[in-house]
């Protein structure tokens, strides 16, 4: 697949993700919270999107809706041509398994399992043969430099190493989309830079990336910067031309 970081050529790529007027409502006690309020968004295959905005602006909700973890309350979400809001829970799980990889701020590694077994986990759920999944998990750890640390448990690994394991786990099923929820939020800036470089490299292989961040320096690596507030998309532009130059909004 071709690299696709120049915004000018994006329209040439097939549209992977289409959100039309998507809203997500939460009921908190008596009051309704509009986490997403009529968001329309098209993402092409190979896009690298950074998602910024203050806390509670709906970044994570948008990420979860794209990741088929959270169903939209209204609107249309098309993923790879499939209308997600109409799909069964079972099919949604299949989509998450085959098409989507997640990484998180706090890594979400299972603490009692070795790095290798954490990476094997999606394959275990998919019922892959033990021998084959071991090979695949090792192959996923290797390019991230985690081969020698495969038998360590998360509490024996540094934050950067944990995030590398999490990336290996997200990539082991060879998804077409990587969703990253503040992947550098718990890391020092040097390690964060290493992680974002890895993500950039993955993007160059054709992987579509949506990344939530508070850090403008991280967002600067993306091809498109989306800025959100109060559940709405306020701007969508290359980072250099962003109308909202990433006002750092710590939680």
């Amino acid at each position: 697949m071709n690299a696709a970081s120049e915004a000018g050529h994006l329209s040439a790529k097939p549209e992977l993700i289409q959100l039309e007027n998507v809203s997500r409502l939460y009921r908190v006690g008596e009051t309704e919270v509009r986490a997403l309020d009529g968001v329309s968004l098209h993402i092409h295959q190979g896009d690298f999107i950074a998602l910024m905005g203050p806390s509670g602006s709906g970044k994570s909700t948008l990420l979860n809706v794209i990741g088929c973890l959270d169903p939209p309350t209204s609107g249309v979400y098309r993923l790879d041509g499939e209308e997600v809001q109409a799909l069964s829970e079972k099919r949604l799980a299949e989509i998450r398994q085959k098409k989507i990889g997640f990484i998180f701020q706090s890594y979400h590694l299972v603490p009692r399992m070795t790095a290798l077994r954490n990476v094997e986990l999606p394959l275990i759920l998919a019922g892959v043969d033990p021998k084959e999944r071991r090979e695949r998990a090792k192959a996923a750890l290797e390019p991230l430099g985690m081969g020698p640390r495969a038998e360590h448990r998360p509490d024996q690994l540094s934050g950067g190493e944990c995030q590398r394991v999490a990336i290996a786990r997200a990539m082991v099923e060879r998804p077409s989309i990587l969703l990253a929820d503040e992947p550098t939020g718990n890391l020092d800036s040097k390690t964060g830079e290493e992680i974002i470089t890895l993500i950039e490299a993955l993007n160059r292989t054709g992987l579509t990336i949506v990344l939530v961040t508070h850090d403008p320096r991280i967002a600067a690596h993306a091809g498109r910067l989306l800025y959100m507030r109060d559940g709405r998309l306020l701007s969508d532009a290359p980072p250099a031309q962003a109308a909202y130059p990433a006002a750092p909004a710590p939680p």
Partner: protein
């Protein structure tokens, strides 16, 4: 997801909380042990009774005076009860064909006295055939003489304990002792036999039946015991004995009890008792199931993020349900197995202490315990497992822990 992976993932999760897992296992194990011990005790009691019946003699039909029925408790009183006499016994012996031995006996309590030594004993009046029917053997001398049962010579055969109490180291054969007001010459001593169905043969004095009835001024025998030639002819024996007695008494004012019927009623009583004990013990197993549910509910609320992660990685709700159900089943199954092992060890130790009780784990009950424990685990594990499977993925991922 493969079954082996479900089990190993569930096992890993359980091993993380060793204390919690251990306590849940202990609760199930105690329940399983209790059921196993109590059912083994019931079994042992049943075997004990069966052994006792076997020791009593085989293929026995017993004639009891009076009509014993469940209906009409006043029947015997209304019709009047005729005595069971030596004549009845003699007639049965002469006329019934399906009969091997007939032995009447009387029973009473009297003080036995020999040279200043007193002892209150049961005195059984019977005939020479009694030794054959009850498999009695002698350590010295001879048993009651054969011949006309009406004669009633003043001779006595002593139980082994009674002999020691009255005579000490002295040889009792040929000595004379006093039973109530009459003198009897000792002609034999029984070998130690112990208790059999309420009769302590070691503390018993056996005299000829006529002498026994005279001693207590009795007109009726206590029982007539009849031994059929074999098991198949017992119905014929009953028919013939009943016909003869009805003819002599002009009414059916007696009851025929077979050993088998007695055994059956004992067996059903003990079975019912065993079942009741097992049910009570099973409550503790069910309570252990509730304990598992409690532990699993805590575990589900602690592992919200892990559940969310599994969903994000493509885990189906059904798979998450299976994982948590597998944990509950592992807990209850392993607990039951531990309990069965512990129970078996305890039973082995107990059977070494109480040798007369055949204490052993019953494989049927062991299987039932395992199945019951697994069912309880599945039932009580279902609620937390469903809760886990239904957790909304996005919110659980964001959870605090």
């Amino acid at each position: 997801m493969r079954a082996s992976d479900i089990v190993s993932l569930a096992g890993e999760a359980l091993r993380r909380h060793r204390l919690r897992t251990g306590l849940s296992l202990l609760a199930v194990a105690i329940g399983a042990t209790a059921v196993l011990l109590l059912t083994a005790l019931g079994d042992a009691a049943k075997h004990y009774v069966i052994d006792q019946f076997a020791a009593m003699g085989t293929n026995l039909v017993v004639v009891v005076p009076g009509r014993v029925e469940t209906s009409g408790f006043g029947a015997a009183a209304l019709g009047g009860t005729r005595d069971l006499t030596l004549g009845d016994a003699e007639d049965i012996r002469r006329r019934a064909r399906a009969v091997r031995e007939v032995t009447p006996f009387s029973l009473g309590a009297a003080p036995a006295e020999y040279e200043q030594r007193h002892r209150d004993v049961y005195v059984m009046g019977t005939t020479s055939a009694y030794a054959k029917v009850r498999h009695l053997s002698l350590s010295a001398g001879q048993f009651l003489p054969a011949g006309d049962p009406r004669r009633g010579e003043p001779v006595v055969v002593l139980g082994s304990k009674l002999r020691h109490e009255l005579f000490g180291s002295e040889n009792p054969l040929g000595r004379s002792l006093r039973l109530a007001d009459a003198r009897f010459r000792v002609i034999g001593v029984l070998e130690a036999k112990g208790q059999s169905l309420g009769i302590d043969f070691d503390d018993l004095a056996l005299v000829p039946v006529a002498a026994g009835m005279r001693l207590f001024n009795q007109s009726s025998l206590h029982r007539i015991m009849i031994q059929a030639p074999d098991e198949a002819s017992i119905p014929a024996t009953i028919r013939q004995v009943r016909a003869i007695l009805v003819e002599r008494h002009k009414a059916e004012d007696f009851t025929l009890v077979t050993q088998d019927a007695m055994l059956q009623s004992f067996r059903s009583i003990i079975n019912a008792l065993t079942l009741a004990l097992a049910a009570i013990a099973a409550i503790s197993l069910a309570v252990a199931g509730i304990g598992i549910m409690n532990v699993m509910l805590v575990s589900v609320s602690e592992r919200g993020r892990e559940i969310g992660l599994l969903k994000a990685l493509g885990g189906q709700a059904r798979q998450i349900l299976s994982l948590f159900l597998a944990e509950a089943l592992l807990l209850s199954g392993a607990g039951a197995v531990c309990g069965l092992l512990l129970g078996t060890l305890l039973l082995q130790a107990a059977s070494r202490i109480w040798r007369e009780l055949p204490l052993a784990p019953n494989p049927f009950w062991a299987a039932a315990i395992l199945i019951f424990a697994l069912c309880a685990g599945a039932l009580f594990g279902m609620i937390p497992a469903r809760r886990a499977a239904r957790l909304p993925a996005a919110e659980s991922l964001r959870g605090r822990r």
